[in-house]
């Protein structure tokens, strides 16, 4: 007990330096400034602890990003130019549209799959089916894109397992078997890999909802799909949007999947960027293309921000 230090108890009273009787005022004043200095030192220490991590992100992420933006607008003599954008749009407008279509379609399909699976996990009334589904859906969760690309490259090929199964079950004629290694292959690879991630987030958010509204609606005879759409989904919309925006951005920056499944034109912008650099060392057009895909990502992020702002406004 003797080891208790004099300043120990005062730590709990940090926030109330204004107390003290009139008689003790000069002393309290001194205490007050000392307290403020200590507060400032504490703040400084806290920032010093965060600083190294912020520096890593700043130097190795933000700075190159700024370089990219600068490089996209700079001509050979260091002046300002829009020529790189003109060239990008001239050569790659079709690929830009292709990229938008693929990513938007994939995001949409991911949302549907994630809502369906997470919804059944939350509202399903057949315990064994729920358990099987919970075990089943997560397998591709941490499989890297590059492996997903290799997997789909063999599975969806003309001689792949998908066609063999479709022929074997009599769903298609052997003659109409075709390779799906085009835009469909990319979309399938994206949904296969990314839907479990969004489902995991969504199912987690749904599991932490209050059950009483759901039970009440069910008792009043509402069918499960109505409960899902009208009661559950509005409460987890934020989580769903975060998952979808992260997936949207991830799919925009994946290089391996389009390179492995569909490297020929029209293809995704990431493939064009790698091509400009590896073949022509043309960093200027590559940077312009990167900036255009940043713009696409920003439109996705704006979607999320609008939701976040509305949430703040509604309290």
């Amino acid at each position: 007990m003797a080891a208790i230090r004099s300043e120990g108890p005062s730590r709990g009273a940090d926030s109330a330096p204004s107390g003290g009787s009139a008689a003790a005022k000069p002393q309290a004043w001194g205490e007050h400034t000392r307290e403020r200095r200590r507060e400032g030192e504490r703040l400084l220490a806290a920032f010093a602890l965060v600083l190294p991590a912020l520096l890593v992100v700043g130097v190795f992420f933000v700075a190159p990003l700024v370089l990219s933006a600068v490089g996209a607008f700079r001509d050979a003599d260091g002046g300002f130019t829009l020529a790189h954008f003109a060239k990008s749009l001239d050569l790659y407008t079709r690929d830009l549209l292709f990229t938008i279509e693929i990513v938007v379609l994939s995001t949409f399909l991911i949302a549907i799959v994630a809502i369906a699976i997470a919804g059944y996990l939350t509202l399903g009334e057949h315990p064994r089916a729920v358990a099987v589904l919970r075990w089943l859906y997560r397998w591709p969760l941490f499989i890297p894109f590059v492996v997903a690309g290799q997997i789909m490259r063999t599975f969806l090929a003309k001689n792949g397992m998908l066609n063999h199964v479709l022929i074997g079950t009599g769903l298609i004629e052997p003659i109409s078997a075709q390779s799906m290694l085009d835009w469909r292959g990319i979309v399938i690879a994206f949904v296969w890999k990314q839907a479990p991630f969004v489902t995991l987030l969504l199912a987690g958010a749904m599991a932490s909802l209050e059950r009483q509204h759901i039970e009440a609606a069910r008792n009043l005879g509402a069918p499960r799909w109505r409960v899902l759409i009208d009661i559950v989904l509005p409460q987890v919309r934020g989580t769903l949007l975060v998952g979808l925006v992260l997936s949207f951005v991830a799919m925009l920056s994946v290089l391996s999947v389009p390179l492995m499944i569909n490297p020929n034109s029209p293809t995704m912008i990431t493939v064009d960027v790698a091509y400009r650099i590896n073949t022509f060392a043309d960093y200027a057009v590559a940077n312009a293309l990167c900036l255009l895909s940043l713009l696409l990502a920003a439109s996705g992020a704006a979607f999320y921000l609008r939701h976040a702002v509305r949430k703040v406004e509604n309290g």
Binding site: L43, A53, V57, V146, V147, Q150, G160, L201, V245, Y283
Partner: protein
């Protein structure tokens, strides 16, 4: 009566059918990969490999083969990435989780940047800068790129782990005369250890699986397992690519099976708040 029984049978059959289709969609591609890994000969139009064997496995794991080298490189890079990430994420997580810090939300958001912005422009330009200062094609360069990308997970999870440590235990240790540093090392750090372990695993896995950054920054000397797999696949050697892909699947699937032990539903619900 029999109508409701029939309806229930129909419902059960439908449920089983949907689950079976989903199982095929998930395991079909994986099974196809396993078949390729053990196929000696497989060409059109046979449905299954013509011969099975381990010849390609021997070639992959031969002392002269580069799979073992790539595996070693991948693990070495991942371990260094974990060390760098945690060295800066632990102090940052402590400050964000325990201390009063203005703009806390903004700082947390800053670490999300590398995950929320397309990475390609960053890799392209950092490769150029690294090339100029001699970091291109080095382990150090790749580790720095991986660390900045994995930092969001490390900082967010570390911050949540420190925030969940009971402050009264720290106060008790301080009252008993422990210095701030002793208190941190003997009380706070051990209590936050499970969360920090989770963030270490996340960072490790992200680094092992990373492709695009290594593709631009690691060229030509650093060949990690994903790069080896990609090169084999583009070279048309599906057996080697599939065997390497199976190696990459081991940590991914192992982690998938235990993920909910690390990420509880309440943490997941926090995302997007």
């Amino acid at each position: 009566m029999s109508a409701t029984v029939a309806a229930r049978y129909g419902q059960n059959a439908l449920r089983a059918l949907v689950l079976a289709l989903l199982a095929f969609a998930i395991f079909g591609p994986l099974l196809n990969l396993v078949l390729w890994a053990f196929a000696e000969k497989w060409y059109f139009p046979s449905k299954l490999p013509l011969e099975y064997g381990l010849t390609f496995w021997q070639r992959v794991f031969a002392p002269r083969g580069n799979a073992l080298g790539s595996l070693g490189t991948s693990i070495w890079i991942a371990v260094l990435t974990v060390i760098v990430s945690l060295a800066v994420a632990i102090p940052a997580g402590y400050a964000l989780g325990r201390l009063k810090l203005p703009w806390r939300g903004l700082i947390l958001l800053a670490f999300l940047l590398p995950q929320a912005v397309p990475n390609l422009p960053v890799y392209v330009n950092i490769a150029q800068v690294f090339y100029r200062i001699g970091l291109a094609g080095t382990i150090t360069g790749v580790v720095l790129v991986h660390a900045s990308h994995g930092l969001v997970l490390a900082v967010w999870i570390a911050s949540a782990a420190f925030a969940s440590v009971d402050a009264s235990l720290e106060e008790a240790a301080r009252n008993m005369g422990a210095s701030a540093w002793t208190c941190f090392c003997t009380v706070t750090l051990p209590l936050a250890a499970p969360g920090l372990m989770a963030s270490a695993i996340f960072v490790f896995l992200e680094s092992v699986d990373e492709f695009t950054g290594t593709y631009f920054v690691g060229v030509p000397d650093v060949t990690t397992l994903p790069l080896l797999m990609f090169n084999a696949s583009m070279g048309g050697n599906y057996q080697i690519a599939s065997i390497t892909a199976l190696l990459l699947l081991v940590p991914s699937i192992a982690f998938m099976l235990v993920v909910e032990r690390f990420l509880k539903a309440d943490v997941l619900a926090m995302v997007g708040r």
